[in-house]
C-alpha cells in the first residue's frame, strides 16, 4: 500500500525521481571487443593482462580484475530493468492466496496439486542446442543420404 504524498513531498519526488545509477563503468569497458576477441582465440587471462600492460594501456592490471570484468560483461544485458510492481496485500488475489494457505484440501486435491507442481518442475526451461559450440562435429558420411521429399512412385491402372 502506498501512502499519499503531500504536495511538497510530491514536488520533491518529481524533482529527483530516480536513484543515481550505482557503480561506475569499468576501465576495461572500452577494451571489451578486444578482450572478447582474445578470449575467442583462446588467450588466457594472464596473457591478456600481459598484452594490455605491454601495449602501455595499463601500468598494472590483475588477472582477477579481468576475470571479474569478463564474467560480468558476458552476462546478457537487459535494455531496461523490469518495473517493480508493488504487491498490494489488500488485493483480492492476495487475499485469496492467504485463504488458500489456511484451506484444508482433500487428498485428491493435494495429489493433483503435487502432480501439477512436479510436471512444471520437469518442463525444460532452455532448449538444448543441437551441437555445442566447442564440440567437434562429425557426420555419418558413409550412410546413404535420405530425401524425405521423395514419394513412392504411383502406378496408374489401365482402364
Amino acid at each position: 500500500m502506498t501512502d499519499s504524498l503531500s504536495p511538497e513531498l510530491q514536488a520533491l519526488l518529481d524533482k529527483f525521481p530516480n536513484a543515481a545509477k550505482r557503480g561506475g563503468t569499468s576501465k576495461l569497458e572500452k577494451y571489451w571487443p578486444l578482450i572478447k576477441a582474445w578470449r575467442k582465440r583462446g588467450k588466457t587471462y594472464l596473457e591478456m593482462r600481459n598484452h594490455l600492460i605491454e601495449a602501455g594501456i595499463f601500468e598494472t592490471l590483475s588477472t582477477a580484475t579481468l576475470y571479474n570484468f569478463l564474467k560480468r560483461r558476458s552476462r546478457p544485458r537487459k535494455e531496461e530493468s523490469e518495473p517493480v510492481t508493488e504487491s498490494d496485500s489488500s488485493s483480492p488475489d492476495h487475499q485469496q492466496s492467504l485463504n488458500l494457505r489456511r484451506l484444508k484440501l482433500s487428498e485428491e486435491e493435494l495429489r493433483a496439486r503435487r502432480e501439477k507442481a512436479r510436471a512444471s518442475n520437469h518442463k525444460p526451461i532452455f532448449e538444448k542446442p543441437a551441437v555445442a559450440e566447442d564440440e567437434r562435429v562429425t557426420f555419418d558420411i558413409g550412410k546413404p543420404r535420405e530425401n524425405r521429399n521423395l514419394q513412392p512412385p504411383t502406378i496408374k491402372k489401365r482402364t
Binding site: 602501455g56 580484475t65 535420405e146
Partner: protein, 254 residues
C-alpha cells in the same frame, strides 16, 4: 587496481578481417563449381572490387576452367610444393579478396595445406569462406559433409543450390539428417543458382565467355549467343544470381 595511462593506441577493435579467401569446396565433379566461381567473379567486377583469382582445377585443361573465362586467373598446381601458398602470395601483393576454384578430388592436398596455414592466417586476420555446391545428386551433399567435418568452424559456409534441371529437388540437402546436423552446427548461408539452359551454357563455355559477356552482347560472332533470346536469358541469369549474392555479401566481402 591499475591506472589507465593511455588512451587506446592499439586496438580500437575492428573485428572485420584484413583479407578473405573464398574457395569452392572440391569434391564431386560437374556440380557447377567453376560456373559459380565465374559468376562470383563477375559479381565482384560489377561491384568494382579487384580480386585475386586462382584456378586450382588441374583436370579442367581448357573449357570451363576459371582461367578459360578470366585470363588473369592464376593456374596453380596444388601438387607442387608451395603451390597453395599462391593464396598468401596474392594477399601479400595487396589483394584483399582471393577467389579460388578447386578441382574435384583436390580434398586431400588442400586439407593438408589448410591445416598448416590456418592458425597463422587466422591470427593475421585472414577469413575464409568455403563454398559448397549442392545439386539434386546426393553425392554433392556427402561431399559438403566431408569438407565440413574437416573444416569445422574455421570457415564461414556458403551453400549454393545449383538447379541443374528445370524442377530440381534439393531434398537430399534439405531433409537428410546429417545435412540438418551440418546446418545446425555451422549455420551456413544458402543461395540458389537457377536452372540455366544447357545449350547456352555449354556454348558460352566452349567460347570462353561468361554469362556477363553474353548478357552484354559481346558474343557477336556466335549466332546462338548473340540472339536476343540468349542475351535476355543471360541477363536474367545474371540479375538473379547477383541478387542472391547481394543477400550474402557479408560472407564475400571484408
Amino acid at each position: 587496481m591499475g591506472k589507465a595511462v593511455q588512451e587506446i593506441t592499439i586496438a580500437p577493435v575492428d573485428n572485420s578481417p584484413s583479407a578473405r579467401v573464398i574457395f569452392t569446396m572440391g569434391g564431386k565433379g560437374g556440380c557447377g563449381k567453376s560456373s559459380f566461381a565465374s559468376m562470383l567473379t563477375e559479381w565482384y567486377k560489377s561491384q568494382g572490387i579487384d580480386i585475386g583469382l586462382i584456378d586450382m582445377d588441374a583436370e579442367n585443361k581448357r573449357q570451363g576452367s576459371l582461367q578459360h573465362f578470366f585470363r588473369e586467373a592464376r593456374k596453380t598446381n596444388i601438387q607442387r610444393s608451395r603451390g597453395l601458398d599462391d593464396f598468401l602470395d596474392m594477399i601479400d601483393r595487396g589483394a584483399t579478396i582471393v577467389v579460388a576454384d578447386q578441382g574435384s578430388g583436390s580434398s586431400e592436398v588442400s586439407s593438408r595445406w589448410f591445416d598448416s596455414v590456418y592458425e597463422p592466417a587466422h591470427e593475421a586476420g585472414i577469413a575464409f569462406t568455403a563454398i559448397g555446391l549442392v545439386t539434386p545428386d546426393p553425392a554433392t551433399v556427402s561431399s559438403v559433409l566431408a569438407w565440413g567435418e574437416f573444416l569445422q568452424r574455421r570457415v564461414d559456409y556458403l551453400i549454393v543450390k545449383n538447379a541443374i534441371t528445370e524442377s530440381a529437388d534439393f531434398g537430399y540437402w534439405e531433409t537428410d539428417r546429417e545435412a540438418e546436423k551440418f546446418r545446425a552446427a555451422f549455420r551456413p548461408q544458402e543461395i540458389s543458382m537457377e536452372f540455366r539452359l544447357s545449350e547456352i551454357e555449354n556454348e558460352a563455355r566452349e567460347a570462353g565467355l561468361t554469362m556477363q559477356a553474353v548478357a552484354e552482347r559481346r558474343a557477336k560472332d556466335n549466332a546462338l549467343l548473340s540472339s536476343t533470346a540468349s542475351v535476355f536469358r543471360a541477363q536474367a541469369y545474371r540479375r538473379n544470381i547477383f541478387k542472391e549474392l547481394d543477400r550474402v555479401k557479408g560472407l564475400l566481402l571484408l
